[in-house]
Amino acid sequence: MTISDISHRKRYLAEGNVYLPHIAVIEKIIDETPAVKTFHFNFKDEKLRKEFTFESGQFGEYSILGTGEATFCISSSPTRRDDLECAVARVGRVTNALHRLGVGAEIGFRGPFGNSFPLDYMAGKNLVFVAGGIGLAPLHSLIWNVLDNRAKYGNIDIVYGARTPRDLCFKYDLEAWEKDSSVNMTTTVDREAPDWQGNVGFVPAVTEKVAPAAKNAVAIVCGPPIMIRFTFPVLEKLGFTPAQMITTLEKRMKCGIGKCGRCNIGEIYVCRDGPGFSYEQIKSFRSDEY
């Protein structure tokens, strides 16, 4: 795979001032874990609601007006367009403010920004999704995208883990994927827990046990940096080449469009050139600041 293969990019839809957020209304809130909520929202503007398009892997700049903006991926699939979703962990000022909002509250949205997962490259291949914690959010969009076009892809493995059973996100979808006979679903938690009958162990170790075949496969790995760092070598051991591994990088961002400066890794701007990169690309980065 060449580097450009992952750089599919949909341009910002609206003309004019790219810094003006679109107002959207929160329609539903799901408590995923004690620290994570999924917000379902829709644009107020009827026309935008119809015309807005995005691809799995892209992100937005979400505003709580008066508090500020923060960057999250769109965690719903473009194949399911009743609303848009973002799963948000409560970690900072803006995310805390967002967690305090209720149904009916208004947020601002700018986007979609960034590149998307390379669906064309993935077509016809076996797919291995590896995720940890809130890292399932971008993959949640991609997995539903793939499952809604199931015939286009080969075998599907999903390995998902969290620290405790309570920290598993999208439990309702984990169940659905578990029941789907065309998916090989493995859920794990870091340590033994009461009432937990499933796998126990860290995501990289469990991935090694699941041992997906590398031939004609693509692995998409999202999660905390430490998990990613330990999963790539496991996949390499299983025969995956760096070009067969894809991840998304996380950086502090403000503008989302390659201008404000802070998300660079050398000459790469994660908001503009990413956030999706193959491990092959990452290995070629001059800088280790990722």
Binding site: Y19, R262, G266
Partner: protein, 351 residues
């Protein structure tokens, strides 16, 4: 070419004032910067020295309201600002600062247009002044231009004693000069004088860097942590080199609320010298100072050339003159070790 007698320059500025907000180099507020001409002060006509605050502030203000918002019964209402900023004419900007504007234009035009910046750019006429008094730490001649380069302005003026020689560079420049009564044709003697003034200024730019050699060495010393730790040891991360750099454009975005429940979003200059600039809740890729200093040098001299084909520095020397601990980018660049390619660089080269 044309010229105007210095004693008539005020009349030209008055003519421009009718159409534009005219900015001139001024010390009125304490720090030399481009300030709105008061119609009286003409000291800047004789004081040919660069401002401390660069004219980037006329396009990317240090703080700028992006939009206002208020909550009504039907929900939030956004109040866009600045769609059509007033027309401005910058008088007396030096070639290095004009080049700097051309350099950051590339960022604000790239991929997504930045309306706040570009609307100001489009509404601006740049009247350059050939620099006749470079500082000891200016090094513009090492960066492919010089103190009298007219490439990036609409009109170029050169001080030839009792007059300014006028070069009309762009159509915009010609337009704003049309009908100016005091503008006369320049004589061959005037032009000769201007050439001598320019040559003399160029000869006085004494600090030099070798950009070819730097271009060769930078890729090799990126991972030389020891070198960057030594280079950055005295830096106090105050950010002055960034804030006064004419090509530093990074910004932050923040919201402010008023008591009545309305608010506004602002953007303001930000700075890669600050650790908080890249700080995330759980980690920070540039927590270490040596990484931040390295970022500054590489952004100008390696990343910018790779992205836009031009070095992101104009050699204006502000970062050297204003640094409280005498950090000097030319010394850093001139002291880059020859370096040895890392394993990664070797494999990249061979593949």
């Amino acid at each position: 070419m044309k010229k105007i007698k210095k004693q008539n320059a005020a009349r030209l500025l008055e003519k421009w004032q009718k159409e534009f907000t005219v900015f001139v180099p001024s010390k009125a507020s304490g720090v030399a910067q481009m300030a709105v001409w008061d119609g009286q002060d003409l000291a800047f006509l004789e004081h040919n020295r660069n401002t401390v605050i660069p004219p980037k502030a006329n396009f990317l203000p240090s703080i700028q309201k992006m939009f206002g918002f208020r909550k009504e019964e039907g929900g939030y209402v956004l109040e866009p600002t600045d769609e059509d900023p007033p027309k401005q004419l910058l008088f007396g900007i030096h070639p290095c600062d004009a080049r700097a504007i051309a350099i950051i234009d590339m960022v604000f035009k790239d991929a997504y247009e930045d309306r706040y910046y570009l609307s100001r750019r489009q509404n601006t006429v740049l009247v350059g002044m050939a620099c006749t008094s470079p500082y000891d730490n200016c090094f513009c001649t090492s960066l492919g231009f010089g103190p009298a380069d007219a490439t990036d302005v609409d009109i170029m003026l050169t001080d030839i004693g009792d007059s300014f020689l006028i070069e009309e560079i762009t159509d915009k420049g010609k337009e704003v000069l049309a009908g100016a009564k005091d503008v006369m044709a320049a004589t061959p003697a005037d032009e000769k004088k201007a050439r001598a003034v320019k040559e003399s200024a160029k000869a006085r730019v004494s600090t030099k860097i070798d950009t070819d050699e730097i271009g060769k060495r930078l890729p090799l010393v990126f991972d030389d942590r020891k070198f960057w730790e030594e280079i950055s040891a005295k830096c106090v991360s105050c950010g002055i080199c960034t804030f006064l750099c004419p090509t530093c454009y990074c910004f932050d975005i923040n919201d402010e609320m008023l008591r009545d429940g309305s608010g506004a979003r602002y953007r303001n200059w930000d700075c890669c010298s600050f650790a908080v600039y890249t700080k995330m809740p759980t980690e920070n890729p540039r927590e270490d100072k040596w990484r931040r200093v390295r970022q500054k040098v590489y952004h100008k001299y390696a990343f910018y050339p790779e992205l836009f084909g031009i070095i992101g520095c104009t050699g204006c020397g502000r970062c050297i003159r204003q640094c409280p601990v005498n950090w000097d980018i030319t010394q850093t660049l001139n002291s880059l070790p020859a370096g040895t390619p890392t394993k990664k660089q070797e494999t990249q080269k061979s593949s």
